[in-house]
Symmetry: C3
Subunit: 317 residues, 3 copies
């Protein structure tokens, strides 16, 4: 069975998950993103690659931050962008997801950027749209957030070059994190030999080892000599939930402090997908410290999204 993200020529026509994508595609995205970094730093930050194309930001779950990055990326490619927050709209009128998509497709949409609380919704949409329409998953449930995984990979490559010599630790609530899942797939596909997940038993998915990672419950062991530390955001609802004693105790065990950071390699970088809970998963002195590359992640994220959109727009059905 063909990967539904690729066309007959093996080109990327939807970006739904990093899982199962060939290494070459990932590298193509990272290389293309690099060429766009210059664009975002120019006086006139626009290229005409998507001129006249209509990109719909289809957000069934609110996320101003992610929506904004896609909106900016699309506008810098000269596309027309329409933002749709759907929770307050047709869905409440009882229209089905696919009717909504059909309807927007009939307005000659060229690309859907989809955020949805249900895992798999972007796949459902990609399987339904006409051949010339492209779908980008901007986060679906606990499943995947591929552009975040790619921008994380971009950041790691930018600072550490060669994936095949790296130790990477991902810390915190792995269980509910589509960011972690997408990054793990990116790293293993790109040949990272040592990927570790660190967190309390209650926040680790059972069988996570099968993804090709090692499991740690202890920061001291998990962070030892790593090149890259990726801290995950602890959702507010978890802090009050039954999976954790309290935000304070979580910080004591898994929050990244200067002391814990010192366990990693001296030139280790610290990443975070944002928004950060300072004092919960990360100490402010680390977040603002010399090893943090959290803001460059955001900058790379625009370039990565421009890359994905322009590659998809160039792929035939």
């Amino acid at each position: 069975m063909r990967n539904p993200q690729l066309n007959a020529k093996g080109e990327l026509r939807h970006l739904l998950t990093i899982e199962g994508l060939p290494r070459e595609i990932l590298l193509q995205i990272l290389d293309t993103a690099k060429s766009f970094l210059g664009v975002t730093e120019r006086e006139v930050k626009k290229v005409p690659l998507l001129r006249g194309k209509s990109v719909f930001n289809l957000f069934f779950e609110p996320s101003t931050r992610t929506r904004t990055t896609f909106e900016i990326a699309a506008k810098r490619l000269s596309a027309d962008v329409v933002n749709l927050a759907i929770s307050t709209s047709s869905q409440t009128k009882g229209e089905t997801l696919l009717d909504t998509v059909d309807n927007l497709s009939a307005m000659h949409a060229d690309m859907f950027v989809v955020r949805h609380a249900s895992s798999g919704a972007p796949f459902l949409i990609a399987g339904h749209v006409k051949p010339h329409v492209h779908v980008v998953n901007a986060g679906d449930g606990r499943h995947a957030h591929p552009t975040q995984g790619l921008l994380d990979a971009y950041t790691i490559r930018h600072y550490k070059q060669d994936f095949t010599r790296l130790s990477v630790a991902i810390v915190g609530d792995i269980l509910h994190s589509r960011v972690a899942r997408s990054l793990i797939h990116a790293l293993t596909t790109l040949g990272t030999p040592d990927v570790r997940v660190i967190g309390p038993q209650t926040l680790l998915p059972t069988g996570v080892e099968r993804l090709g990672v090692s499991v740690h419950h202890d920061m001291a062991a998990g962070l030892r000599d790593v090149d890259v530390i990726v801290m995950l955001r602890l959702q507010n609802e978890r802090m009050r939930g039954p999976l954790l004693p309290s935000a304070g105790e979580f910080f004591k065990a898994y929050g990244l402090t200067p002391e814990k950071l010192a366990l990693a390699k001296p030139d280790a970088i610290v990443m975070h997908p944002g928004p950060m809970n300072r004092g919960v998963e990360i100490d402010s002195s680390v977040a603002d410290g010399a090893q943090a590359v959290i803001l460059p992640q955001v900058t790379f994220g625009i370039a990565v999204r421009m890359a994905v959109m322009s590659i998809l727009a160039g792929a035939s059905a």
Copy 2:
């Protein structure tokens, strides 16, 4: 008294209602829309007709779907579009409707697309703005939704060519439907000899016959040998209201099933303004069937709105 929608030369300067518009104006819109259909299918879907013009989507009643169609149409004409959802804004600050409009006009608006829960609000605005400002009614109360009526007419002409030989049935909640009212005016103006409305007594306006339609309470009689069936959306609040026994009973009597569809001509087309309530006013097999032209309606709707906007922008005061 002159039609307030026309200027001294008889050109369209506002589109408020189809009622009373000359046949030539309707045909001009349909013909212009046809020329824009090609644009929406091109690689670069833009024409510079409204470049530098400011179009304000003034939605006093939320409607993501309709707002989106106007936004896309305006952007494809290269206009600058500003979306204003007014319920949460000035109106709650106690500002009057006309003060809001004056204020936006003073920002050099060129066109207002107005949606309002009160019938007549777009007329009030059109009667108030400066000569160079154009107003499009995007749905006012139960009164009119002229661009929907026009896109319905466009769809019928596209599939059936000659209005003067057609039987058209409009089914469901006629009483509360501005869509039905606008379509009836379009069809009678364009010379359709046989327009039927079908629905329960409680959902038909008294005296609807005066609009030039025949009234049916029974689907079997009403659908017999028609060329076109237009199903209306049943608003959720009606289903729970005193005018109807239940959604299930409504479907039994007036829902369009394959059996009922078989009463129409074999090549009859099925239309619906969307969003559909599958299983309430229309069976899924009909909605997705070969006779349904519901998605083409949406596509034609963009072209019709581009046509209306470009014709208005070209009309002098």
Copy 3:
């Protein structure tokens, strides 16, 4: 200590408050605005000065009206505009204001237009962003609303030319009004010899005289022979609060009626920042009368905002 709004060359790089700005800067803005007035009246209302620049409307407090004026001004300068209503977004996720700003800066924002309920928030942001990023205060708490003060000054200059011969009365709720504060600073900087504030004791800040204005509690005395009357909006919450007996009594004492207007010079102009409460602070016959210049204020406001944005964009760090 250098004014944080100016760069080393004395050029404007942020617009945070009118207080402390040199007269030459104010005149530069007013002169530049004049050159843009023509643009907003052209067929194609666009100039390419900010093409490829990203302007973020960062509204931590909702204000459709003000946000719209900045959005239109930026679009007429050909900028890419991203609207962010933050109350419902990251802030509720516990992210700090500066993390939000850092994050958006990392997307290569060129300009932030900031509205915030807390006085000083735009200063905090301006002190934090990278040198090439510009900040415009679009209203912070009770503190300042400099573009409103500038458009008021523009309006006065348009109708009365020479500030150094004028008497200006500002009427109503001075205490809570950032509009009043900004206008007072503009007028005194521009050399207006006679600025009066008129209102009940409870709605005047203690020590307001130190701003260079005279204080009146009585309209008859305060309005006598003035050239300009600026009515302030009475916020709804004040009308029901302990500072005022009732909206009706306020109107009796301080509402601008034709009789009270007759106390001013015969050619006095009447201004209001909008939205108006007709029958509370201003009588409808005055609001719609020959001396009102309330709608021209709005038109000038677009030109003034275009001027501010283009001047900032041209200033180096």
